[in-house]
């Protein structure tokens, strides 16, 4: 029976892109579980399968084998439409490129997943959501009138408003300068602390990883190590070590 203590778990997750001689194994038998209310950073060299992992979890891609369990429910074999609804209703996704809809205001972007589900977001819920990310005065602004950091905060408000089982963030600070990045990371941290929001964040930045409770290192599609209570220095040292390892392997 499903394990209800975990917000998210993957078992034996494998993803192969392409076939034959040109096939790439992006994930090779990854086992991970994420307890409720925890903040995990996924790190690894470029091409190690971090984005593929998040895509498989969010149902954007279908794994070649293995299982994805969301709050104990096996969602792996769900069809396209059902996975899309799961993404809308149970998962919050924050993308490196913000993925805001350019012709919608900040508030309308935040309300979009609910609108797609045929629901409306109440005024009070919207006020709270924007206040949480410090943008209550920007509700009516279009993305083009917001800075990069503000746009990403709109995206975070959009991801959080549905109280998702898990918040997935793929390099959420990748397009931001370091000061703005720290604001965004602090925001993610506060969602974990105050809302007990289970969060999984892909990053290549040791400073960003230090905001998490735990770091998982991926190398060539495999879990190669973990670190709890990470500090930026310790993470940087571990990454350098991994780069050496992969350098030798090639």
């Amino acid at each position: 029976m499903a394990d209800h203590t975990h917000a998210l778990a993957v078992e034996g997750l494998t993803k192969r892109h392409g076939s034959g001689a040109g096939a790439v194994d992006a994930l090779v038998g990854v086992d991970l579980s994420f307890a409720r209310g925890t903040f995990t950073a996924i790190m690894g060299p470029s091409g190690s399968g971090k984005s593929t992992l998040l895509s498989c979890v969010a149902g954007l891609e279908r794994p070649t084998s293995g299982r994805v369990l969301l709050e104990g429910t096996d969602v792996t074999s769900w069809d396209e439409a059902r996975r899309t609804r799961m993404r809308r209703d149970r998962i919050g996704f924050v993308f490196q490129d913000f993925s805001l809809i350019p012709y919608l205001s900040a508030a309308e972007n935040v309300a979009l997943p609910a609108r797609l589900a045929g629901r409306r977001v109440g005024a009070e819920a919207m006020r709270l959501a924007l206040e949480r990310v410090g943008l209550q005065s920007r509700a009516g602004h279009l993305p083009s009138a917001l800075s990069g950091g503000q746009q990403q905060r709109v995206a975070i408000a959009r991801a959080l408003i549905g109280q998702p089982a898990v918040l997935l963030a793929d390099e959420p600070t990748g397009a931001l300068d370091s000061a703005t990045a720290r604001d965004v990371l602090a925001l993610l941290r506060s969602a974990v602390d105050e809302l007990r929001q289970t969060t999984v964040m892909v990053t290549h930045d040791p400073v960003a990883a230090s905001y998490a409770d735990m770091v998982v290192f991926l190398v060539d599609g495999r879990v190669s190590g973990r670190m709890t209570a990470p500090t930026a220095d310790a993470v940087a040292a571990q990454l350098a070590h991994l780069d050496q390892l992969t350098g030798v392997a090639r």
Binding site: A81, Y103, E108, L116
Partner: protein, 440 residues
């Protein structure tokens, strides 16, 4: 940049094909009429007059539709390149270089297409001339004299208009800071430029003026065809004028229609798109207006003419032939306009691919996206029908009054719903076809 433009051409075949088809068919039609005009030089008396009317007046309406369609197709396609333009600029391409690439691409495609179109017209022109002769509209003493001059002039005009349109659109693609537009991957919403409003209003006004002149002046002339010369073009001119104003009209008219879309997720998306992104969907609306306005207006006129010709007096007994020629010409124009509706429908939906993918990632199901695209197309079709029928009255009403059928023609009113239905099927069908795989 030239090499880059050539390579990007090969990677964007559907968009290139749309420009190519518009310029090819457009030139073929325009150049065919142009050869009649050239032949008029050597013809005598009434033959000369008829050739000038066919080549100049009928060909002129035709040229208006062709040039408008080519320009708007090129415009839609240049808009598709905004993301790529921003990307090139972030890696150091100057706005000028990016603009040159877009213009160069349009120029290469249309020059090749126009040359091929002129080649088609070198067969189409003599065929048209032959048809006029066999229909006894011109005597056998006149000979076809179309040559390189008229063919090249038509091809040159098409290529020139297309290149200028690409130049104007390319400025839009490179406006503002590069990084900004990369993130938005979209032209910032903008109002219509003053010159576009001026052109639109000017065309609508001149169409209405010809309608008034038809009733007050040419309708009273002894020549039974004087009224046709002033009113025949009115619906096309008004239609093109309204089409020029399409972004504005769509925004205005879509708002009251929003409740019809319902409150579902797809209805919500469709409502947002038709109002907030009117400038994008206007590319689809414009040819629908032109098709309906031109076709319904002119067909009703031909119908009125054939019913009332005897009463109006047809001394030369050419009524039937004129009806036949009118129908052939109209058929060509309709076919062309219909192809433009499909062209624009496909181009507009393809342009939205990245945005549709983004919506899908955010949780819009493929079904929802599909439904919203069809709803948008249906909305555009409905508004296009409304405006097109309005435009068609600029020809039909004055001609009906002049030929004593009253405000409303006595027959063939079924043409309006038939053509409107056809346009709606084309608009919705092309959008449906283009969205088949909106997401992965």
């Amino acid at each position: 940049m030239t090499a880059l433009a050539l390579r990007s051409l090969r990677h964007r075949l559907p968009a290139v094909a749309a420009t190519f088809v518009a310029a090819l068919l457009g030139t073929a039609m325009m150049a065919s009429f142009a050869t009649l005009l050239e032949s008029a030089g050597g013809a005598s008396g009434e033959d000369q007059e008829l050739l000038i009317i066919m080549g100049g007046v009928v060909g002129g309406w035709d040229a208006l539709i062709v040039l408008f369609s080519v320009a708007s197709t090129v415009g839609i396609i240049a808009d598709q390149r905004i993301r790529e333009a921003s990307l090139l600029r972030t890696i150091g391409a100057l706005p000028r270089q990016v603009r040159a690439m877009i213009v160069y691409e349009a120029a290469v495609v249309t020059v090749v297409a126009a040359a091929a179109g002129a080649a088609i017209a070198s067969i189409g022109g003599p065929a048209l001339f032959d048809a006029l002769q066999r229909g006894n509209l011109i005597t056998s003493s006149s000979t076809y004299a179309g040559g390189p001059a008229s063919l090249l002039a038509a091809a040159g005009i098409v290529a020139l208009v297309s290149t200028v349109a690409a130049g104007i659109s390319s400025r839009r693609a490179t406006r503002g800071p590069a990084a900004f537009s990369l993130r938005q991957a979209e032209v910032p919403a903008r109002g219509l430029r003053w010159w576009r409003v001026a052109i639109g209003v000017g065309l609508v006004t001149s169409g209405l003026v010809s309608a008034v002149i038809t009733i007050t002046v040419t309708g009273k002339s002894d020549d039974a065809y004087a009224a046709m010369q002033t009113s025949g073009s009115a619906s096309i001119v008004v239609g093109v004028g309204l089409a020029t104003l399409a972004p504005l009209l769509l925004r205005l008219l879509a708002r009251p229609l929003r409740p019809l879309l319902g409150g579902s997720g797809s209805g919500h998306l469709a409502a947002l798109n038709t109002t907030r992104r009117a400038y994008l969907l206007a590319g689809m609306l414009a040819p629908v207006i032109v098709l309906i306005s031109g076709a319904v207006g002119t067909l009703l006129m031909v119908g009125i003419d054939s019913r009332t010709l005897t009463a109006a007096g047809d001394p030369e007994g050419v009524g039937d032939t004129i009806t036949t020629i009118n129908s052939v010409v109209l058929g060509m124009v309709c076919l062309f306009a219909a192809i433009m509706v499909v062209n624009a429908g496909v181009a507009v939906v393809s342009q939205r691919r990245p945005e549709l993918d983004r919506l899908w990632r955010l949780g819009a199901t493929s079904d929802q996206l599909r439904t919203s695209i069809v709803m948008e197309a249906a909305m555009v079709a409905a508004i296009g029908i409304l405006l097109g029928l309005l435009g068609s009255t600029a020809t039909a009403v004055p001609y009906s009054i002049v030929r004593h059928e009253g405000l409303i023609p006595n027959g063939q009113l079924w043409l309006a719903p038939l053509i409107a239905g056809l346009a709606a099927v084309l608009a919705v069908g092309s959008a449906w076809g283009a969205q088949r795989r909106p997401a992965r």
